[in-house]
Structure formats: structure tokens, C-alpha cells
């Protein structure tokens, strides 16, 4: 079938401002949007620039706005889009470097701010720490995060206020706060209790809808909010 791709283009070395370029090409219903972008790059216009690597939804490189929704280009098939006209734009709230490539620095800074690493200064056991399957299950969903930024860059609060740490960073904090082996929970809760933290969330659910890993992000943020409230009483 034929598809029309309208793609946000911007080369800072040539263009004063971004523009829409249109490409008409033959595609297959089971093509990933990433396949089509490659087809354009490889057969029509080699200068089209975007990030990608794994091509099956695991590395988190190719978050973009596809028909107005944050998606991984490698995880959406043409047949999912319900039409042959497709718009592709960079994710929002981060500055555009070229075409579909954005500056991810602020996103990773927020990630690093939540102390995203295991904290436990006790002497390590000779073997593994024991953890029951039930305790392991509590934070299972948040271990799935691939740091693609689909959630954070779909959040209206983040668009308006870049100092908000954003859903992805909170998911990462949740992964440790609810891990029975970790001892850094109090410090992380204190950090997320600040005005850049969880209270900015207005439960718009955009993040949950955007997550390609099906993490129930809004609920995860809710759990962190409740943990702060309980720890303060």
C-alpha cells in the first residue's frame, strides 16, 4: 500500500526554522514505522536523521511523536496507525538538534538526580540477599523502564516546567524505594517531596498511555506519593 509520511525536518546548519517534508512511498502493513523511516533514508533522502539501534523496543533510542502520540518507531506497525498518512515529529520539551533528534541531556540529568543506584552499606552476605517472589513483584514493573523518555516528554507539566524531574525519573526512584534490599528510600523520598518532585504530577495519565513497556506510571507515582505521606506521619 502507499503511505504519505509528513516528517518534521530541521538542519541547524541550513534551515532558519523547521519545516514539514512529505514523502510518498510503498509500504507493507507489517512494516514498523522505523522500517519506513529507514526506507526514506536509504532510498529517498539520506540526510533524514533519527536515532535507533535495537529495532525491537528494548534500547529506547527512537521515541518520537507519531500521529501526535509518543511512541517508539520500532514498536508501531503501519497497520496500527489506522490510515496511510503519518506525521512524525521529535518528542516535545527537549530542544531539537536535527530532524527527529533531541538533546537528551536534561532528561538524563533528572534521572541521575534521584540516586538511581542500589544503596546498602551493610556487609554483603556471603551469597545473595534473599528476597521473596512477592517482595520482588512489588517493584517489577518499574524495572522494565528503558529510559526512552516517551513518558516524560508526554507530560504537560514537564513541557511547562522543565525543572520537574518527570515520570521516568520517578519510576527509577520507585524501583529502589520499593526494593526490600535497598536502604536509600528515605533520602529518595525526601528528594521527591521537594517542589521538583512528585507533587507536580496532576495525574494526567499521558505518561501511562505513552509507555511502550506498559508500566502503570501514574500508579507508580501515586505509590511514591503515598509513601511520602506515610513516612511523614
Amino acid at each position: 500500500m502507499q503511505a504519505v509520511f509528513k516528517i518534521h525536518r530541521f538542519n541547524p546548519e541550513k534551515d532558519k526554522k523547521p519545516y514539514w517534508a512529505e514523502y510518498t512511498l510503498e509500504v507493507d502493513a507489517k512494516d514498523r514505522v522505523l522500517d519506513v523511516l529507514h526506507k526514506i533514508k536509504w532510498e529517498i533522502d539520506g540526510s533524514l536523521s533519527f536515532r535507533r539501534s535495537c529495532a525491537h523496543g528494548i534500547c529506547g533510542s527512537d521515541a518520537m511523536l507519531i500521529n501526535g502520540k509518543n511512541r517508539l518507531a520500532c514498536k508501531v506497525l503501519m497497520m496500527d496507525l489506522g490510515g496511510n498518512t503519518v506525521t512524525v515529529e521529535p518528542i516535545r520539551g527537549l530542544s531539537v538538534e536535527k530532524d527527529l533528534i533531541v538533546d537528551m541531556t536534561p532528561f538524563f540529568e533528572s534521572y541521575e538526580a534521584v540516586m538511581p543506584f542500589f544503596i546498602n552499606d551493610d556487609a554483603m552476605p556471603a551469597r545473595e540477599h534473599l528476597q521473596s517472589p512477592e517482595d520482588r513483584e512489588i517493584y517489577d514493573a518499574s524495572t522494565k523502564c528503558i529510559l526512552c523518555a516517551c513518558c516524560t516528554t508526554s507530560c504537560p507539566i514537564f513541557w511547562v516546567n522543565g525543572s520537574y524531574l518527570g515520570p521516568a525519573a520517578i519510576v527509577q526512584a520507585h524501583r529502589f524505594i520499593f526494593d526490600s534490599r535497598d536502604k536509600g528510600g528515605a533520602a529518595r523520598l525526601a528528594m521527591l517531596n521537594q517542589n521538583t518532585g512528585v507533587w507536580r504530577c496532576r495525574t494526567a495519565y499521558n505518561c501511562t498511555e505513552a509507555c511502550p513497556r506498559d508500566i502503570p506510571i501514574t500508579d507508580v507515582i501515586g505509590q511514591v506519593k503515598r509513601a511520602i505521606l506515610y513516612s511523614n506521619t
Partner: protein, 584 residues
Amino acid sequence: MQVHKYDVIVVGAGGSGLMAALYAKQNAQGTVAVISKLYPTRSHTGAAQGGVGAALGNVDEDHWEWHMFDTIKGGDYLTDQDAAEIFAKDVIEAVLELEHMGLPFSRLPNGKIAQRRFGGHTREFGKAPVHRACYAADRTGHMILQTLYQQSIKHGVTFYNEYVVLDLILDDDIDGKTCKGVVAYELATGEIHTFHAKSVVLASGGNGRMFKVTSNAHALTGDLTSIAYRRGIPLEDMEFYQFHPTGLYKLGVLLTEGVRGEGGILRNASGERFMERYAPTIKDLAPRDIVSRSMYFEIREGRGCGPNKDYIHLDVTHIDPKILEERLPDIMDFSRTYLRVEPTKEPVPIQPTAHYTMGGIPTTLNGEVIWGTTNEQKVRGLYAAGEVACVSLHGANRLGTNSLGDLIVFGRRAGVAAAKYANTATLEPIAENTDARATDLVSRIRNASGKESVAKIRLEMQQSMQDNASVFRTEETLSTQVEILRGLIARYQNIGISDRSEKFNTELLEAIELGFLLDNAEALVHSALNRRESRGAHAREDFNERNDTEFLKHTMCYQLEPGKTEIKWKDVVLGKYEPKPRTY
């Protein structure tokens, strides 16, 4: 051009690179930095699914000797037995260390790390499958990558992300070679950077993109194998390329062997569990080379599935859906998303997919790169670990779960060794124009205006490698492929690109990567042509048997000029497990 000075430079931020960096940082008196062409968490270690093998014995009785034996037999006796011994012992502690770093392994009811069965891992030297693969659902690699990156943040490791290494700073001395750093291209700006260092660890991963159907990421283009090869370092055992039996039909996206570990069964068009015929003892859990070949036999005999009889079925419909969702959620998702097949109700169409290179840059047990055919001929200051390296732990065929173990065991050893070397070495001066080779490469390609298309040459390479040098090979197909590659290499000199910009020039990057891939393909095919026997993943239909008298030795392939190679040999380290016929 910018110049940076470090004690230790690590190239690559996958499992092996991060492990090397963490240990280099702990052991070095000076500075350590990691250079990666991807953001660290985008590395393909994150795609690893099924598990990391270690004889913890949490489910079944298990011993490191059994693991060592399985690794050697799995490698069809080309495995260096000293490497297998260190590995099987150390990987136990290394897995526990990952847990101590917080890695969220799946758990048994008693709270210990969960383990599952995997191909070729057995108890009592081949008697029956054993639960040895430690797993975190079906995202074990993702959790390893995340955990090691988290630790890197905790320990303040310096990263240069989206920098592409294009050359080694390598000097020839009277008695060998010395590495003094690397030259890299910054993707965001187009600038060239020289990283002047006392020691360098190469951890840049695989090269699966030389084949058409592969489980490997687009970024896995064998950059550093090619660079080393161009600079006079041999590539070891490149003919041994692993095809994983269960890639999604046509796409190659991997479905872990853990699916069969949890009870999944391979079936032909008539629904027969054909592996019972090929490997009566361990059936579907035979090593990958054997299963992939068996699948090809079935398809050739007309027993393939589908209208073109060109694929096989992976059947999990008899397994409790709850277990599938809990232990293999991503696998379920891949099948549903990409093939629209509901695995709990219908079998999943699969085919072998290009997966892992057993070969690579030759190293000693401490990751020291060697330029000759003995372990004494080391390149001073240069180390390698992970899929890019060849220690040789995997021999002629890697067992599933042994790569993740390799990353953590040998990544650590390389990191420690590189740091210790840097602690005693001085930063030797480098020539002023050390960046010339890389600068020329970039400017030649940036301005390339020939008629040939990068995408077309790449596709022809991938298709012809698949046809002539994959699961089965003959003198004829390999000789054909040698000529095809010569032709493609010649055409590559005449490519053209359209993007001349400095920033994020991914068209330029893809063109450079194609050059790297062509070198990898060349080394593979020349080495395969030279090995007139069948061993592990290298199956020659014209030389059906393993031939220990002539070929129980490692290939060392040197590039003389593009299209022309010289093959030498290196001894295999034998030991207590004598080569025996390999049946399962």
C-alpha cells in the same frame, strides 16, 4: 581537533565495557573514561533475555566442573580450557556480585536467585539438562546493563556518549606494538577527538549486521574488529558465527532459548517434535549450532511450515499462560507485536537468526590483545573483552548464557589488568598528526559523491552472506562469496552520500560502518574457506566431519590489503577434557 588525556580509556558501554570501567576505576591511580557511540543504556547487552549461567545450584545440584565441561563440549573442543576453567569458577562469584549491586533477579519461593534450563547446560557431564541460567524474567541483559550503568553513576565514571571510535593510536616498535589511545568522531558536532591514554580496553560488541536476518542491533557493525584488523592485528576464529535457532520469522528478533528452557518445543509442519531425532537425550535443549542445522534439514526435506515451507514452529501452547506472562513477558509481546501471533493459542513462526560472533580480537586470559600467534606477543597497553574479543571461551560454538557471564568475568579481568598496566606506564608521546587517518576517512566520506549507494551495497552484502556463509557452507559458496565481497569492497570506494553537514550526520556514520562490516565479512569468509572441516557453528557440507588432526587449532586471519588475507594458526589450550565425538 581536541586532545584528551586519560590513564585508561574503555571503548564501549555494554556489559563488558561498564564492568571493565568499574574495575579500572577501582584499581587505577589515575583517570578513567568510557567512549561509546550509543548512550550506555542503548547498548545491545540490554537486549539479552534468557539468563546468565553460573553453577549456583539453587534449583538442582550443580558444580563449576560441569559448567566448564559443558562449555568445552559446546565449543566443540576449540575452547581454550584454561579460559573455561577460570570462567566457570569466577562466574559464580560474579553473578553474586551483580546481585550485591542490586540486580533484580527473579526469585525462587525460598528467596534465592531463580535459575532455568538452557541449551547444552547439563548435569554430570551430559546426563540431563540442569537449571543453571540465573534470570530476571526475560530481560536479564537489560537488568545487567541498567545495574552496571547505575553503579557507574554511583562511582562517577566519566562518559563520552555518541562518540564513535574510528582509529587506534598504535605504534610499531622493534619487538611488537604499543597502543597509546584512540581517535573518535563526535556525532553531535562532527569534531575529531584524540584520546591519549596509557591503556585502552576495547568492548565494542558484535558484528551481526553483516547478515540479513539478525538479532543484532543496527549499531552492531564490528567497528573495532575492523579497525584492529586494518592496523595489523589478526582476528581469531571469525569463521565461527552463531545462528540462534529461534528468531522471529523474517525479522530475526530473538526469542530466547529460555522459552525452550521453560518447556517450549520445536515442531515441523506435521507437528512432529523433530529434535527427538537429532538429539535424543536433551532434544530441544541441544546447543544452538545443532538445533539450527536440524531446522535447516527439516526445511530442506520439505517439512517446513507455512505456504513456502520455509519456517519452523515454536510451540508453547501447552505451558501455563501464567508462567509465560511471568517469566517470558517480552517474548509474548514480541510475538504479538511483530507477527500478530498469540503464543498461548498458536505456535510462533521462527527461523535461525544471525546472533553472535565466537571470533574476534585475540586476547590472553587477562584481556591483553595479542598481535602474533602466541600469548607472549602482546600489544602493550591494549585490552579487549566481551563479544568483540576472543579469549577463547566459546570455541566453535557458544552456549546460551555464557556471553553475559563472559562480559562480567573477562570484562572485570580486562579492566583490572588495564588499570594495573596504566599504574606502571607513562603517557608516552604521540605524533602530532595521529588523527590523520580518522580525519581523512571522515572528510573523504563526507564529500563522497560517487554513484554507488551505501544501502544497496549493504543489502547485497547481507543477502550474499546469508546465502553463502551462514549455517551451511561449501568451497563453492565460500569462493563465490570471496569474489562477491571483493566486488562490493571495490564498489564501496565509489559511494556517494548527500548529507554534508557536521551535526548528527548519521548518513556519514552508516557509510563508515559499512566499511567496517565489509572487513568483518571478509575475515569471516576467508577464515571459513581455509577451515576444511566441520566444527561447532562452522558446517562445511564438503567436509562433514571434525578433523582434529589438521584443524584442532585457532584461525588467525591477517589483512594484507582489502580483499587479501593471510591465515596463520594458534594452538588450542587443551586440558583435562579430551576431544570426543560430540553427541547429545
